[in-house]
Subunit: 221 residues, 2 copies
DNA sequence: CCTCGACGATCAAGAGTCGCATGGGACCCA
DNA sequence: TGGGTCCCATGCGACTCTTGATCGTCGAGG
């Protein structure tokens, strides 16, 4: 799961990024509206956190522009409660939720999770089952049969991405894009390392290598 | 995925081509607008990268000409930020996105991927069935009746191309262009080798040889 | 009907690429 | 300082791709 934070207060942006990274999300931060718009439309995010007061384009306009272009990723707006901007207006322009500053970090994480869950809840629960593998994306827990597996944050993210596209071949480049953030420029070998770890902690034949194409999470046919 | 780069600065063109090839794209380069127009209309590309300042026809005119002819492949424009040309104008002539020079290589790749992704999102169901042959392009799996066949990456690509044009005669040159890239200068015999492998792994009469013309995937049983 | 030439099929081997395992180092947090 | 996570580098092993040689087949024209 990859998030974009558009926030010009650098201290706040940094602390949010840090916390959300620790939760296991890949997080990118940009500091003005124009760049936020560019980035959101060119990189694959699962959620955008958007401040309203921004240099360049303000949050409302970024949000409206994204929605006008058919962008359907959830947007969480951050508003300062000083009267100049109104929360309701945020929802009018197409935001999915808003938070009024100051807010506690715990609340933010809860809202983020709720939005991500709601999105997938178009008929599906946040728990995915494939054969004897069970993945709870909300709680970030994994079971194989009765046994719970202890995964690190990155391991879980890689598995999550494979589970969301179970049965399909997912290329290493694709996994890199979704699980790592914009700043990452390293070797795709890193994906192999994590797949290897998942096979060791779960079951070797769960993730199938498709040589020259990527990996595929086997579904029970 | 096949890309066309229309760019007269040879150093830049070469370095882009090199990088994008490393990303797994088949890349062709031409150096002037007239040739770009010709190539784009005569070869099947998935995306065109188009510089604005070009000898012959400039990028705007190439882009406008393509769009006027109903050409709907995504176009990414490259603009030099020296005031003479304006980014907005590029979008007006029908480009899908633009990048201002100088840009980082990483950003270019991100934009290319975004454009290809946006396009693919509109795509159709990835499972093709012809008689007892079933090809799932997303999962990269192939069945013949109940039996699944194990194909290598190249074998699958060749089959995929034949399936997309099932019933038609596809020339060896055409297969070479799509599965290998335009600049491939090897022996066309390589196609025969792969067709041979497909017949062995699937069924001999599935791919019919049309002497002097190419191959045809049989649709009727 | 036979012969010849062109085209296509098949095979085997070397070169090249891809994926895996492993260990070490950087970094972070307690 | 110590444990854990994350990332990188290396070398090995296995598979894939490609090439070139050889054999088979088709069809036209004598």
């Amino acid at each position: 799961m990859r998030l974009l934070i558009v926030e010009d207060e650098k201290r706040l942006a940094l602390s949010l990024a840090k916390g959300l990274t620790a939760e296991g999300y890949a997080v990118d931060v940009v500091h003005d509206g124009r760049e936020g718009l560019d980035r959101a439309t060119t990189e694959p995010y699962d959620l955008v956190i958007l401040d309203i007061m921004l240099p360049g384009l303000n949050g409302y306009r970024v949000c409206a522009a994204l929605r006008a272009a058919g962008y359907d990723v959830p947007i969480l707006m951050l508003t300062a409660k000083d009267g100049e901007y109104d929360e309701a207006e945020g929802l009018d322009t197409g935001a999915d939720d808003y938070l009024t500053k100051p807010f506690s970090y715990v609340v933010l994480v809860a809202r983020v999770k709720a939005l991500l869950r709601r999105r997938r809840a178009v008929g599906a629960s946040p728990v995915h089952v494939h054969g004897d593998l069970k993945v709870d994306t909300a709680a970030r827990r994994v079971w194989l049969g009765e046994e719970e597996a202890e995964l690190t944050a990155k391991e879980f993210s890689v598995l999550e991405h494979l589970v969301l596209r179970a049965g399909e071949v997912v290329s290493k480049a694709d996994i890199l894009e979704h699980v790592w953030d914009f700043a990452y420029e390293g070797d795709p070998n890193i994906v192999e390392v994590y797949v290897s770890a998942l096979r060791r902690k779960l079951r070797a034949d769960l993730i199938r290598t498709v040589r020259g194409a990527g990996y595929r999470l086997e579904t029970a046919p």
